[in-house]
Amino acid sequence: MNDHISFLIEKLPVLLFGFSGQRPGGLFLSLILAVLAVAVGFCLALPVSGAERSRWRPLRWCAVAYVELFRGIPLILLLVLVHQGVGGVRFGLNWSPRTSALVALALYSSAYQAEILRAGLAAVPQELVESARLMGSRPRQVYILVKLRYALRVMLPAFTGQAISLFKDTSVVVVIGVAEVMTVARMALGADVTNAPYWVTMYSFVGILYFALAFTLSRLSQRWERRSRPSDLAHSFFSY
C-alpha cells in the first residue's frame, strides 16, 4: 500500500503539469485543450448556427452537413483523420499533435455547440426581438444584445454540459500522442515490467483526477445556473 502511495506522490507533478524541461502537459494541458477547443468551437458554431437558419437553401444544407458530419463520426477517428490525413505530410501541413488535437476537438465541439445555439436562438420570444426592433436597434444589435444573450442564458446548462463532456473527451487525444494526462500516465508507467502492479493505482488515480474535476465543474455549474437563471430571465424581459 505504502509503495503505491509513494509511487503516486512521485509521479504527481508529472501527471499534473507534464515532464519537467518539456512544454506543459498533464492535466493542465487537458484543461487548456478543453478551454481552447470550446472557445474556438464557439466561434465556429456562431456562423454555422446562423447558416442553419438561413433563407438560402444551399447554405442551410452546408450547415446541416457540417453538423451531421462532425457529430456523426467518432472523435477518435476525427483526431486521427486530422492528424494523419489532413494535417500530415501529404498536404505539406505537418501539424504537431497539439495543433491537430486542438483542430479536431474544436471542430467536434463546434458541431454540438451549433446545435445548442440553434435551439437557443429558436427559443427567443418573437416579442423580444420585435420590441428591440421597434426601439430602433440595428440588426447586429438585435442579434448580439437580444437574441444571442437570451439564447446563451437559456442554453447555459447545455453549454456547460457540453464543455464538461469535452473535457472528458480530451482523454482521447492519447491516440495521437499529445502529452496530456492519459499520455503522461502511460509514459510514466512505461514498458517497465516492475511497474505492472502500479497500473491499476495509476489509471484509477487518473480516473479520480478526471472525476474530481468533472464532478466539481458540474456541481458548480448547477449552482451557478440555479442562482443566476430566474433573475436573469426577468432581467432580460424587463430591461429590453
Binding site: P74, L77, L81, W199, Y203, Y210
Partner: protein
Amino acid sequence: MTPNWLTPDLLNLLLQGLLLTVVLTAVTAALALILGVAAGTMRISGNRFAGALAVLHVETHRNLPALVLMIIWAFALPNLFPPELRRSIFFDNAFLNWLSGWSGLSLPYYTLAAGVALVLNTSAYLAELFRAGVGAIPQQHVDAARTLGASRLKLFWTLLLPQGLRTSFPAISTRLIHHLKNTALAAFVATPELFHSAQTAITRTFLALEFLMLAAVVYLLLAFAFSGLLRWVEKQWLVAGG
C-alpha cells in the same frame, strides 16, 4: 467498382471490423439500456441502500471518460494478479478459448473489457435520462394506478416503465448514437473493430486519408441507420403500442 487501393483482403478486414462494431454496439447498447433502467428504478425505489448504490454507479461512470474506464478494465485490471494467475484468469481459460474459437477474436478479454466499460459508461447516462422520464409522468396517472389497487410491481411494469421510456426515448436515442461512436474507443484496447481495422489497413498500405475517409463514411452511414432504427422502434413500440 472498388478503387485499386482497396484490395480484397483489406476489404475483408474492414468488413470483419464492421461486423464487430455492429455486434458490439447492439449487445452493449441493449445491456446498457437494461442496466440503465435498473439503476434509474433503484434510484426512485425509495429504498435508501439501492438508491445510494445507483447514485454511486451513476456518478462514478458519468464523470469518468469512457477511455479511462476501458483502460482500467482492459489493461490495468489484469496487472493486479501475478503472471501465472493473470494468464489463466484473463487470457487462457476454457470460456475465453471457446469465445475465441467461436468469434475469431485472438484476445477476447480485451473486447469483453471494452464492452463492460461501454455498458457501465452508457448505462450511467441512461439511468439519469430514464429517471427524468419517470419524473415527467403526470402525478394523476400514478394516483389513478394506486387507487385501482396496483401493486408496486404492476405499477412499474404497466406505468413507470412504458411511460418513462416513452418520454425519455428521444434523449435515450441521442445517447445511444453517442454510444455507437464510443465503440470506436475500443480500438485503443486492441479490439479489432472498424476503426482498428482501418488503422491496420493504414499500417499495411500507408494510405491514411483513404482508409480514414472510408471509415468516416461508414460510421456516418451506421449512425444514420441506427438513428433510423431507433425512430422506428419509438414509433412501433412506444407510441403506437401504448
